[in-house]
Amino acid sequence: MSVTEYFRPASVNEAIELLARHGPDLLVMAGGTIAMPLVNEGISAPERVMSLRAAGLDGLRREPGRIRIGAACPLQGLLELDDVPLLQAAARHTGSWAIRNMGTVGGNLFAPPPAGDVTVALLALDAVLVVAGAGSRREIRLDSFHTGFMTTALGPDELLVEIRIAPPTGATAFHKLGRRQASTPAVVTVAARAIVDGGRVSEARIALGAVGPHPFRARAAEAALTGSRLDTASITRTATAAVDASDPATDGIASEWYRRRMTRLLVERALTDIADRPAGGAA
């Protein structure tokens, strides 16, 4: 079986109509960096494919108090966000230059682990997703978007159109460990954000990637940190809670055992970074 129709809708409305007409058999693709390897390998053999590259979803817009990222915005575009170093760092450590020119921010949300590093950063930034259906739009918080391994809260007739973040408050840190320095799947990815108020953490986000069925917030770790001073004891406690929240797989990149060990280490490093510069936001 080979592809018989390749659609390039020129608008979101046109894309949603195609989705309604062809249903779940339609392979929806943005940058192709996830779908095309599967098609090339023969693992995926779609008959109908819809590309979102021409649907007007590639914008990156700044508005007062928020940044609107089109679902098909290339990952390379995030490197411009000097005021969101967490997202910048996550993008810089995702794929290669050519992959970032093709792969999209929206697509990263659908990347199976151990991929999805940008999603980890977006979780720590409390990203909100805008989803369009036939004649309607709704918002989904990113932390309730993933429902399992490669399953999401997106309805069969819905399309992810935008990712919204606010300029981050507090200090942030991003750490990713791979088998090599660049263009590598993660052993584990950690994005952390903490607001330190009067010496104590008033709000914390600890997001993990590659150590579960999808990128997720380690809420128990966040709770372990909130209200505490950022010191060795609270950092150790938080890292333990993060390891407990993880459910890593053994694959060609790393073993479950190693992923747990490195989750502890990277959470500790991220929080130590933040403790060393609580006022700054650099990742």
Binding site: S2, V3, T4, E5, Y6, R8, G31, G32, T33, M36, P37, V39, N40, E41, V49, S51, R53, G95, S96, W97, A98, I99, N101, M102, Q181, A182, S183
Partner: protein, 171 residues
């Protein structure tokens, strides 16, 4: 079997291919246009040997459906090679032994042309970072990194892909 006609600029030349839907640019180049400089490595986006420039930006032709290049400009190692002699970056690769088996070379050169067009004087770190997605199993990368560093240090070698090359430049 459904086939579509897609036209795009291959360097300075307008070309048309009649291919099945979602044929990759890599296959179109190699099997329909005879441009075999672009290599067929992993087809997974993991090796960089099929790197080409799409409107001056490095992309992986093995992951790019041909429909996405309609009306756009594609540059490959053949289109940057002048009718006589070599592109300065090709010459530099040759002079400084930055190629061994040669399989990664076209991808390395296209990445390099793209890098120098964006950043005419890249630092060593910037070269290394830009090359992160291009594998070479022979050279250990050092000669390739040195060539690109030297190309950035030397004036006049950074020929951008969007400048006239080939026949146009030779006139």
């Amino acid at each position: 079997m459904t086939s579509n006609i897609v036209s795009f600029a291959l360097g300075d030349r307008q070309v048309e291919v009649m291919v099945r839907p979602m044929t990759t640019l890599q296959i179109a180049l190699r099997e329909h246009l005879g441009q075999t400089g672009t290599k067929d490595g992993c087809r997974q986006g993991g090796c960089g040997s099929c790197t080409v420039l799409l409107d001056g930006e490095p992309v992986l032709s093995c992951l790019l459906p041909i429909e996405e290049v309609a009306g756009r400009r594609v540059d490959v190692v053949e289109t940057i090679t002048p009718p006589q002699g070599l592109h300065p970056l090709q010459q530099a690769f040759l002079d400084q032994f930055a190629t061994q088996c040669g399989y990664c070379t076209p991808g390395m050169i296209m990445l390099g042309v793209g890098l120098l067009a964006h950043n005419p004087h890249p630092s060593r770190d910037e070269v290394v970072e830009a090359l992160g997605g291009n594998l070479c199993r022979c050279t250990g990368y050092e000669p390739i990194v040195r060539v690109l560093e030297a190309a950035g240090a030397a004036e006049g070698i950074a020929v951008g892909a969007t400048q006239p090359v080939g026949e146009e430049a030779a006139r």
